[in-house]
Symmetry: C2
Subunit: 191 residues, 2 copies
């Protein structure tokens, strides 16, 4: 199975906190690395880190710079390579604009989440990803805010319809990406 | 597909560091929570945190206690529930002994790792997990030490045979568990 080029976006705003309020979540060092390594492993072309908070953008830039140009670059070349795909963006629209300019105007943002009951199943999502350059969108905190879902963007079915459904965004993203691409799927690089 | 009861073990010793030396890695707060939430989501009966370091065991106990009995229990009941399955063990043999006493003497430890080239593929692993109570073994740091693989324990094929193969143990565990059990697999609870 051959997929079009693919990207992920990790959204820090607008997301919900545990009380259900819309907030801007903090960028975390571990999310940066875990998702960058996922992106590298599955040959994803871009990892968009989305936050409007300038000081959080600076923090993320400093982390990336440490591993790409600072002492970390020689200490751990695997991290350096993984972070090549990372781009810091103000908001989701800006990320999608960038992805469209890179992968083509037909590119699609596909949302993920644990709270909704329906959504595109994985066979259909795989078909979609062979036809369009997809940007998978993940929410931090307690998930993407309702206003993000209110758009007409397609949304994947939750990972698991069990009684307990509170995965970290890192592990959820890993499962979603692996379900889509799997062991044998080939994701086309951007030229 | 109905699986026998299943467990995971996260091993902090013996594992390799980046230079290939055998070390005891540090317990991390995030690994505790991410894997506990994974275990709860997929109905795994036990999450064994394996470390011989007494001060690390104490740290892990204090983290668990905070979320189960301390201020965390009312702040975040999801975490409390997820941590029910966690047990702290001195070594892998002790974890397997406990799992055998709980799930039956036929229980199997199944290793995971990124460095070896072959291993059991997922269809075969699923069959195994429908016949035996499996304890999946994950290594922290740069993976389980060779002495662990030297045993005659079965070992899963690496997640992805690409050029870049450096997932975090959190995301690798998520992918392995989801590949085994998936969306529709039913894991039997322990009685």
């Amino acid at each position: 199975m051959t997929f079009k080029p693919m990207a992920i976006a990790l959204v820090h705003h607008p997301v919900l906190d545990r009380r259900g309020d819309v907030v801007t979540s903090a960028v975390t060092n571990l999310d940066i690395h875990d998702l960058a390594r996922l992106a590298a492993t599955y040959n994803l072309a871009r990892y968009y880190l989305v936050t409007p908070a300038v000081e959080q953008q600076l923090l993320a830039s400093r982390i990336v710079e440490h591993w790409q140009k600072g002492a970390g670059a020689s200490y751990n070349p695997d991290r350096r390579q993984a972070l090549n795909s990372l781009r810091i963006m103000d908001n989701l629209d800006a990320a999608l604009d960038d992805w469209r300019s890179l992968a083509g105007p037909e590119s699609l943002a596909v949302l993920t989440g644990a709270r909704h009951q329906d959504g595109i199943d994985y066979p259909d999502a795989r078909t979609l990803a062979t036809e369009y350059p997809v940007m998978l969108v993940f929410g931090t905190g307690h998930g993407l805010a309702p206003e993000v879902y209110a758009s007409d963007r397609p949304c994947l079915a939750p990972v698991r319809a069990g009684q307990y459904n509170h995965l970290s965004v890192r592990t959820a993203a890993a499962i979603v990406i692996d379900r889509l691409i799997g062991e044998h799927g080939l994701v086309l690089p951007l030229l």
